[in-house]
């Protein structure tokens, strides 16, 4: 919910509450005052009515005297009892219909011409009710106007006062650490927004600095590692050149050679990751995936046959726009993975369609959470062949080209889907 809607809601709630209280207070106060003045006028009528009644020859139970309805009832004895109450009386309207109308009724006991009577005077209060209704309408109308005004004011505030905030927000949303550009905010006259802008600026600047340091570190470390690696590797080659050696020697050399090769690949992968992150990749070109996959599979067939893995392929023509190097790596890593984590006698299926590439393979169930699969150095197998960077690189490439990379698994089959955007 937007902040402004939220404040509006509070405004609405509180103004409703206050108006309800004001309305109720008004209603009761008016009621009280009006009843009081009606009662007063009724009491004032009493002596005049007494004189009026004396002049009558005969008392009817209900009489209409001076806009008032007077009822008299003979009683045995007169007491001081008197009271006021509200009542409703059916009145003949101008159009001849009977309508209920509110009345205030004053009842007391009195001697008329020496005989005890209970006398009731009823005075119509329909005008009072009208007055109250009108006043309440005015108040409610005021409330409505007030709410409307608040709403308009809010809109104005949102447009004007909050504008720098929304600008800042848009810039933050647009911020990407890989773009290497700190957002720059325009000056705001509001202290809070100015504070916010300066803080965000400081934070992003720091973030970019830290990120660059880290990236440079990885990059430099990888670069610096290359020369020693090259030296070790070359020395191994030299060792192997010099005449025949014992089997034990060869075993040692083999292990060193394997370890160095692994280090080299690790290094290469890290460099590649930083390069993709920095966008230091060759220019994109249109690449037909179909022949590229075919070529890779051709290389792999003998090995697949050796492991008894059957290969299914269903390749429709599809080209993508990216550097050949990245397309190569993407396929290498996905297919390589599907083979590495396969089982002897299993199968591997590759499907390329217009909007997706699916690589599916048999294999033992995943031992880790699927969402960790694309993290760096998350290895599924402890084997020396796996670096734990392959899928991280795949994800990096897919992110770069807005492809949706998904892993699913069912019934001992693992499926990687690359959905082209």
């Amino acid at each position: 919910m937007k902040l402004l809607n939220r404040t509006s809601r509070y405004y609405l709630f509180f103004s409703l509450l206050i108006f309800a209280i004001i309305g109720l207070a008004l209603f009761f106060a008016l009621r009280y005052t009006l009843d009081h003045s009606t009662d007063d006028s009724l009491e004032h009528t009493r002596p005049a009515l007494a004189r009026e009644l004396l002049q009558l020859k005969e008392l009817e139970p209900t009489m209409y005297i001076m806009d008032e309805i007077v009822e008299v009832r003979p009683i045995l004895q007169v007491s001081d009892r008197e009271f006021f109450r509200d009542t409703t009386i059916m009145v003949v309207e101008d159009n001849g219909a009977l309508e209920p109308e509110p009345f205030r009724k004053y009842t007391y006991e009195e001697l008329v011409d020496g005989k005890p009577y209970q006398v009731s005077i009823s005075l119509s209060t329909v005008e009072n009710e009208d007055l109250i209704r009108t006043l309440l309408l005015v108040v409610l109308g005021g409330l409505l106007l007030f709410l409307l005004a608040i709403n308009l004011l809010n809109r104005y505030l949102s447009r004007e006062l909050w504008r720098p905030f929304y600008q800042t927000l848009a810039q933050i949303k647009d911020f990407s650490i890989q773009k290497d550009k700190a957002p720059s905010f325009s000056h705001s006259d509001t202290t809070e927004f100015e504070d916010l802008n300066r803080s965000v600026e400081g934070m992003t600047g720091q973030l970019i600095k830290e990120y660059n340091t880290l990236r440079r570190f990885t990059e430099n470390a990888s670069h610096e590692l290359q020369t020693p690696l090259a030296i070790i590797r070359n020395q191994i080659d030299l060792l192997l050149r010099e005449g025949e050696r014992s089997e034990q020697d060869y075993n040692i050399i083999q292990q060193v050679s394997e370890a160095v090769s692994r280090l080299g690949k690790l290094n290469q992968s890290l460099l590649l990751l930083t390069k993709i992150e920095r966008g230091q990749v060759p220019e994109a070109e249109w690449i037909d995936l179909n022949p590229l996959i075919e070529r890779k599979l051709e290389q792999l067939v003998p090995g697949l046959e050796a492991r008894g893995i059957s290969l299914h392929r269903e390749l429709a023509p599809r080209s993508v726009r990216m550097p050949l190097m990245l397309a190569d790596i993407l396929l290498n890593n996905l297919i390589g993975n599907a083979i590495r984590h396969n089982v002897d006698g299993g199968d591997l299926s590759i499907r390329l369609a217009d909007d997706f590439l699916v690589i599916e393979n048999t294999g033992p169930p995943l031992r880790q959470a699927p969402e960790l699969l694309f993290e760096r150095f998350r290895k599924e197998s402890k084997s020396a062949e796996s670096l734990g960077l392959g899928l991280a690189i795949v994800r990096e490439i897919c992110d770069k080209y807005n492809y949706n990379l998904r892993y699913t698994s069912e019934a001992g089959r693992h499926r990687m889907t690359v959905a082209f955007g």
């Binding site: 670069h223 290359q226 020369t227 690696l229 090259a230 030296i231 070790i232 590797r233 070359n234 020395q235 191994i236 080659d237 030299l238 192997l240 050149r241 089997e247 060869y250 075993n251 050399i253 083999q254 050679s257 394997e258 160095v260 090769s261 080299g264 690949k265 290469q268 992968s269 460099l271 390069k275 230091q280 990749v281 060759p282 070529r295 890779k296 051709e298 290389q299 792999l300 003998p302 090995g303 046959e305 050796a306 492991r307 190097m325 190569d328 790596i329 290498n332 890593n333 297919i335 390589g336 083979i339 590495r340 062949e385 670096l387 392959g390």
Partner: protein
């Protein structure tokens, strides 16, 4: 073949020149850009190996100089700086090949030979080893003048062996050679093994000698027994 090696890392320079010298090449090694410019302006080389990051400048400068002098030498960039820019600039300037560090000496040897073959107008355009003849331009292989059909990987493997006869080539080196710069696909030893096995079988069937020998766990050796 006369080779100029421009590499500022002494132990790397020593191992490279040692390896190449053992192959019968004449190798001169320098560690700075200035020495390299001096040498290359005086002598003619068949092949020049250039490291880009030198203490007194960029190896790219020497490529410019060589091209300006119309030197015929083949140029291979051997560099730790495997940034795409360097690679593209280097090749644009006229370098013939680019080999990122760390590389296998056998791979370097194969690349030098390939460049030498391409450059030498009078020289051998085909590689011969006993009854086996390989024509790199057409990627065609014959055994006793009978053509045999090899897959791309098998052909690449054969060429690699022929460039490095009589020495042990590690499995890692073979794997990297087969999968190019972006290894990882063919890192399984099984896969190399299958390719080697198939190549050996095809050669034997065609009547060639059995030249491929597995050397314990380390790798392979191509040699006449």
């Amino acid at each position: 073949m006369k080779i100029l090696l421009i590499e500022d890392e002494p132990s790397l320079a020593a191992s490279i020149s040692g390896y190449l010298a053992a192959d019968g090449h004449l190798v001169e090694s320098v560690g700075t850009l200035n020495d390299a410019l001096d040498k290359s302006s005086v002598y003619e080389y068949d092949c020049i190996l250039v490291d880009i990051g030198l203490p007194d400048g960029s190896g790219l400068d020497i490529i410019r100089q060589l091209k300006a002098d119309h030197q015929r030498a083949g140029i291979i960039i051997v560099s730790a700086k495997d940034s795409i820019d360097d690679r593209i600039t280097g090749l644009d300037l006229g370098a013939d090949d680019y080999l990122p560090k760390p590389f296998h000496l056998a791979e370097l040897n194969a690349r030098i030979r390939a460049i030498y073959r391409r450059k030498s107008f009078a020289g051998e355009r085909v590689i011969e080893f006993g009854e086996i003849t390989v024509n790199p331009t057409e990627q065609a292989v014959t055994v006793n003048s009978q053509p045999i059909k090899l897959t791309r990987s098998e052909y690449s493997l054969l060429e690699y062996f022929l460039a490095n006869p009589n020495r042990v080539i590690t499995k890692e080196s073979v794997a990297e050679h087969l999968s190019g710069d972006d290894a990882d696909l063919l890192d399984k030893i099984d896969f190399i093994y299958s390719h080697v096995k198939n190549l050996r079988k095809k050669l034997l069937e065609a009547g060639a000698g059995d030249y491929i020998r597995s050397v314990y766990g380390v790798g392979y050796k191509w040699a006449k027994t």
